[in-house]
């Protein structure tokens, strides 16, 4: 079953009378448990695609069905609920609340949850332990290294137990060691059954995915399965 079904999605921005078409007729289906890399040069429309996929923006036209629900026409309240329950975001710039402890940053999505679980703190602690930060629970983002901040972000993206993890250049602000660590975390999340969508301009990072979609000028240029075994052999 398709978890994400985008049919003829267009997105344009109107700016002082000029209409800029960012996405042109994008059709895209992603199955549950897929590990998809979306690549393309900057300005190609990757971020806009991610914003629509992540329900942070609505398409100008086209149909978007997420988990069987038509989300392209939802109002703000319902769209926010979808973000809250079904999507976890991992950003390049981490986007943690400054001055707030790692633990509280991780629990932030549950503040807005309709039916938050009872053991919020306990869950957040478990997730932080899972990403190796059990000794940094009460540190604020300012007291954490880049790699550590990214791990807090990943823990936050998992707190609502979402079906989809949307990662926007997750390694962009990290050194290579932390980058590799982060990618390993994603690899293990896929094994747990999460659907991961990775947006990057880095071919090497994209190679972790099982399927690579390349975007060029607002359109899908190519969509191919990655043969990992063939790769390993060639190395």
């Amino acid at each position: 079953m398709n978890l994400i079904e985008m049919n003829s999605i267009c997105k344009s921005y109107r700016n002082i009378g000029f209409e800029t078409k960012v996405l042109k007729d994008v059709t895209l289906h992603i199955k549950e448990g897929d590990y998809v890399g979306i690549i393309g040069p900057s300005g190609a429309g990757k971020s806009t695609l991610m914003a629509i996929m992540g329900c942070l923006a609505q398409p100008t036209s086209g149909e978007y069905i997420l988990d069987g629900e038509q989300v392209g026409k939802l109002n703000d309240r319902k769209l926010s609920r979808v973000r809250n329950e079904k999507i976890g975001f991992v950003f390049q710039a981490f986007h943690l609340l400054p001055g707030v402890s790692a633990l509280e940053n991780v629990t932030l999505p549950l503040v807005y949850a309709k039916n938050p679980p009872g053991n919020i703190k306990e869950r957040a602690r478990e997730l932080l332990a899972k990403v190796g930060l059990e000794h940094r629970l009460h540190h604020t983002p300012g007291q954490l290294s880049g790699g550590e901040q990214q791990r807090v972000t990943i823990a936050r993206s998992l707190i609502s137990d979402p079906r989809i993890i949307l990662a926007d250049e997750p390694t962009g602000n990290l050194d290579s060691k932390n980058g590799i660590e982060t990618m390993k975390t994603f690899d293990s999340l896929v094994k747990e059954g999460k659907t991961i969508i990775l947006i990057t301009h880095d071919q090497e990072v994209a190679q972790h995915a099982g399927r690579i979609i390349s975007i060029l000028d607002g359109q899908i240029a190519s969509d191919s399965e990655v043969n990992h075994e063939a790769q390993t052999r060639s190395l």
Partner: protein
């Protein structure tokens, strides 16, 4: 998302910027505090004026010879009228049922001497009912008797200011002072009364029998004033009306002629003073409105800065599931808390200063609980009113744009 977590977020955000929160509430704080103090001052001075009016004599009606006109906020006699007499006073007493007592009165500023001391004072002539009508109380000695009035004896009852000026620390009772080369024996001393509504010292007074005054001092048959005590507050208006009719008849005034006397009752003076108080109240309301507006603009400015500064935070919250309403609520609570904080501190400061000034500053201030109540709600209202725009602005931010704003 429930109210408590919204409140919690707002409180946390405000605590993270303590100085800014305080500055934002400062306008409201000062506004509320000054309103409370001003209302207290207004109430206090109103009370003082009412006390003075009541102190002039209970249920008092004053008949003044001549037409009185208001000049510079005060009633002043115009012209020199000689038609008011003791006979008028007697007829008022005898013929009007609502009148309890009457004191015909005449006064003149003169020099009184005691030994080598001399002092300018008010020499007044009246009857034995004068102290009762005008609510003068005796400190020592006695008021002159009916017989003193009949035989025009040279006796005097003296006020505290005159005592101080003439006798210093000496006991005046039984002493003899000289007025216009004539000796007068002091037989009584009045308790101090303070100033009247026109700010004149009511204790700078030497009271002698009216008959003595007419013969020895003024050498005239007319008087300038009659003090009348109505039988009750309710009867003041009725008594005034009857006095008016009686005097017109007694003075043989035909319909085409104006009054040659003026009646001023306690109610009239209260009414006059009320006008002043009402103007003061309007002034307070105006100032309060302006200061609350300024305070509100302070909140507006700080909230707009806060929204701008926290654009990214708004983006993050929206990304993890906050609705527009959640964001509006968060910022609205912040401005509401700032409003309440300013209001609370303002009430505390206002009440504190009011009590302090009353206790140490010797001011007459009266705390008005209504003003505190209204002020508290006003600042909550201001907080919300001036917080709505920034809050809505925050909620309208595009999450994607907000996230990429540096």
């Amino acid at each position: 998302m429930n109210i408590f977590s919204s409140l919690g977020i707002a409180i946390k955000a405000l605590r993270a910027h303590k100085a800014r929160t305080f500055l934002a509430s400062l306008g409201i704080l000062i506004g509320i505090a000054s309103v409370i103090i001003m209302v207290a001052i207004g109430k206090g001075s109103q009370q003082e004026v009412m006390d003075v009016i009541a102190g002039m004599g209970e249920n008092l009606i004053t008949v003044n010879a001549g037409e009185m006109k208001r000049r510079g906020g005060r009633l002043r006699l115009t012209g020199n009228v000689t038609t008011l007499t003791v006979r008028d006073a007697n007829r008022i007493m005898d013929e009007i049922g609502e009148v309890e007592r009457v004191a015909p009165f005449e006064q003149k500023s003169m020099t009184a001497k005691f030994g080598n001391n001399s002092a300018e004072t008010t020499i007044a002539g009246s009857t034995i009912d004068f102290p009762i009508v005008r609510d003068y109380k005796l400190k020592s000695g006695d008021v002159f008797s009916e017989r003193d009035v009949k035989t025009a004896n040279r006796v005097a009852v003296i006020g505290m200011t005159a005592v101080k000026n003439l006798f210093g620390e000496e006991d005046p009772l039984g002493q003899v002072i000289k007025v216009h080369f004539m000796p007068y024996k002091i037989i009584g001393v009045f308790e101090p009364k303070g100033v009247d509504t026109n700010g004149l010292d009511q204790d700078d007074l030497v009271l002698i029998p009216l008959s003595t005054y007419m013969r020895r001092i003024a050498n005239q048959t007319f008087i300038t004033r009659i003090f009348v005590k109505a039988s009750s507050r309710k009867n003041i208006a009725k008594a005034s009306k009857k006095i008016h009719e009686l005097l017109r008849e007694n003075h043989k005034l035909t319909d085409d002629r104006n009054d040659d006397f003026t009646l001023v009752s306690q109610l009239d003076i209260e009414e006059m003073k009320k006008e002043t108080t009402e103007m003061f109240t309007k002034l307070i309301v105006g100032v309060a409105g302006i200061s609350l507006l300024v305070g509100g603009i302070g909140i507006l400015a700080v909230m707009l800065i806060s929204v701008k500064e926290r654009t990214r935070e708004i983006g993050i919250r929206r990304a993890v599931g906050a609705t527009r309403k959640d964001i509006v609520r968060q910022f609205l609570y912040e401005s509401l808390i700032i409003g309440f904080l300013g209001g609370g501190l303002g009430v505390a400061l206002g009440v504190g200063l009011t009590l302090g000034l009353t206790h140490w500053g010797n001011w007459t201030l009266i705390l008005d609980l209504n003003s505190i109540w209204v002020a508290s709600w006003a600042c909550a209202g201001i907080g919300v009113l001036f917080g709505v725009f920034p809050a809505i602005k925050a909620s309208k931010l595009d999450p994607m744009v907000a996230l990429t704003t540096e």
